[in-house]
């Protein structure tokens, strides 16, 4: 009985939060709406990242690449197509790119994959730059922006979709498969899991959402160019947020991304040259002392409370 009431109360809280998020824009300033939009953007990217990298342990540094692909899809198509359509195309483009890259590099050791994704962002940026300079002559594109309320609701919907997708995956047989790949890939293969296909597919799914959110956020900026669209710092931030929050449960990435994007917003304006320093130091501290992130800390506290006495965790 206790478990059931707990389940219902959690559900109740979530529904309440959802209602708050939906009515939010009516009662607060435009600045706050934009702030929350940015925070949700980071949450979406981090949640997407965790879908693949969180379970399998293959650390992807490609979020900036997939996000940027979405940005460009938007920039090129937004003049002629509707919002839902071109953001979907952005997502699909990222999906295809990830599928291709994954098929080529996920058969290799994790470190090679990471190195490759690290270079992917820079590669695409250079290539896009070269293309824009030499082929299309359009270095920098102007965009007809949309109002912040529309963007907010679009992002909110995407957030809910990613959350739902993450939840469904975690509780499906593929969640189990992804976990098995992360813990012992060879054994997973011998248990009947088509390791390569699962890796590539979920890498692509995670990229899809990054592309979708990239395509959506473009409508807030009025000008984009390769350095803006493909900014490697986004990849770094994503990894930092996921590690800081923890990846074992759904709330970890949400907490990690919320805290850091909030800090990013505040500190970037006040201390533009120092906030990256703070993030870097945080990375050091978290990796050495909090390897499971905020989640890990909460779990430990929870276990201690449950058992009462001091217990070795």
């Amino acid at each position: 009985m206790e478990a059931l009431t707990k389940k219902y109360s959690v559900l109740g809280v979530l529904i309440l939060l959802l209602i708050l998020l939906v009515v939010f824009p009516r009662y607060v300033s435009a600045y706050k709406v934009i702030l929350l939009t940015n925070i949700l953007m980071y949450v979406i990217i981090t949640l997407s990242w965790v879908i693949f990298s969180g379970s399998t342990g293959y650390i992807s540094l490609a979020p900036a690449a997939f996000f940027g692909v979405g940005v460009y899809a938007s920039a090129i198509l937004s003049k002629s197509l509707f919002l839902p359509i071109f953001i979907l195309i952005g997502g699909l483009a990222s999906f295809c790119l990830a599928f291709l890259i994954g098929a080529l590099t996920l058969r290799l050791r994790g470190m090679y994959f990471t190195m490759f994704t690290f270079g992917l962002v820079e590669l695409i940026r250079h290539f896009a730059q070269w293309w824009e300079v030499n082929i299309t002559g359009t270095v920098g594109r102007l965009i007809l922006a949309l109002d912040h309320i529309t963007i907010y609701y679009a992002i909110l919907i995407i957030f809910l979709l990613v959350l739902l997708t993450s939840y469904v995956i975690r509780h499906s047989k593929f969640g189990l498969a992804l976990q098995s790949i992360g813990e012992c890939e060879e054994a997973a293969a011998h248990t009947g899991v088509n390791v390569t296909l699962v890796k590539v597919l979920f890498f692509a799914i995670s990229a899809f959402f990054m592309g979708v959110v990239g395509a959506t956020m473009t409508m807030r900026w009025q000008y984009i160019d390769p350095p803006t669209a493909f900014d490697i710092r986004l990849s770094f931030m994503t990894v930092l947020m996921a590690i800081f929050g923890g990846m074992g449960h759904l709330y970890g990435p949400i907490v990690g991304a919320s805290i850091f994007s909030f800090l990013d917003e505040i500190l970037a304006t006040k201390f533009p040259y120092y906030y990256m320093l703070l993030f870097g130091v945080t990375m050091f501290v978290v990796i050495l002392f909090m390897p499971h992130g905020v989640e890990g800390v909460i779990q430990k506290w929870h276990k201690r409370e449950k058992s009462g006495s001091s217990e070795k965790t």
Binding site: K173, Q179, H190
Partner: protein, 252 residues
């Protein structure tokens, strides 16, 4: 292609596994040279030899973890050489590993569930599935520990878990790689019991072992490897008396 579960009438001594002329080199070192042997349906075949003889390599070749440089491997008459591990598992060959490869943070229950869901084509998380998982756990006597994470189990239970996970894929051929390694006397006897129980269910077993008692008592037939080559084959009593086998073991 023979689907698992498709009724196939086996004659009593149908060869379920055939390995012919298999070679595998690792940078100049021949881990397997021209190995040829077979296993008949329902047998328990032992694979022995000194360390480095190529036993685990052979398992890796059969399970798909490695691809032979030349030679053919046939399962139930079908050529499986070069197939990927997951394909081979789904066709009906399962294995355990010398260094126990469990999923440390996954529960016992989930291990078996994973095997069931992915080792059998078209499986979903239904009530029937959950029931069968529990049955498998009962079979290996791990039911009480179903919620525990595998890293919290003692070695002998981790080995049981590996076997349970393998059995969940409904194999017709089970490869056991040094199941008895690291087990104490009582645990060895329990393991031998389990192996016999598995054979009673109709599963053919190929086991690599160093624990001679287990091999002599359980196996119908023994194959001896040395430096990647088969040097002897036959019933346990015959092999025990074979001169070259004795030399190989004494010489070590």
């Amino acid at each position: 292609m023979a689907q698992k579960g498709e009724k196939r009438i086996f004659r009593e001594n149908m060869r379920i596994l055939e390995v012919e002329g298999v070679k595998k080199n690792f940078g100049g070192l021949a881990a397997a040279s021209n190995v040829a042997f077979h296993a008949e349906q329902g047998e328990i075949v032992g694979l022995i030899g000194p360390n480095g003889a190529g036993k685990t390599t052979l398992f890796n070749l059969v399970s798909g973890a490695l691809i032979p440089d030349s030679g053919v491997i046939r399962f139930k008459g079908k050529n499986i050489t070069g197939l990927k591990p997951h394909q081979i598992t789904r066709m009906g060959i399962a294995r355990t590993f010398q260094s126990v490869k469990v999923f440390p943070k996954m529960s016992v229950f989930d291990h078996v569930l994973l095997g069931y869901l992915f080792g059998n084509p078209k499986c979903t998380k239904s009530d029937k599935t959950l029931k069968e998982v529990i049955e498998i756990l009962d079979f290996v006597e791990l039911s009480e520990m179903r919620e525990l994470r595998s890293k919290d189990l003692i070695l002998s239970n981790q080995k049981r878990l590996e076997v349970a996970r393998a059995l969940a894929t409904k194999p017709e051929l089970l490869l056991l790689d040094e199941l008895m390694a690291g087990l104490n006397h009582t645990e060895v006897i329990q393991a031998m019991e389990l192996v016999r129980k598995i054979r009673e269910k109709g599963v053919t077993i190929l086991m690599v072992e160093h624990v001679m008692k287990a091999i002599m008592d359980t196996c119908d037939r023994i194959i001896v490897l040395h430096h990647g080559e088969k040097i002897a084959e036959g019933k346990p009593e015959e092999v025990a008396k074979n001169k070259s086998v004795v030399e190989v073991y004494l010489g070590e």
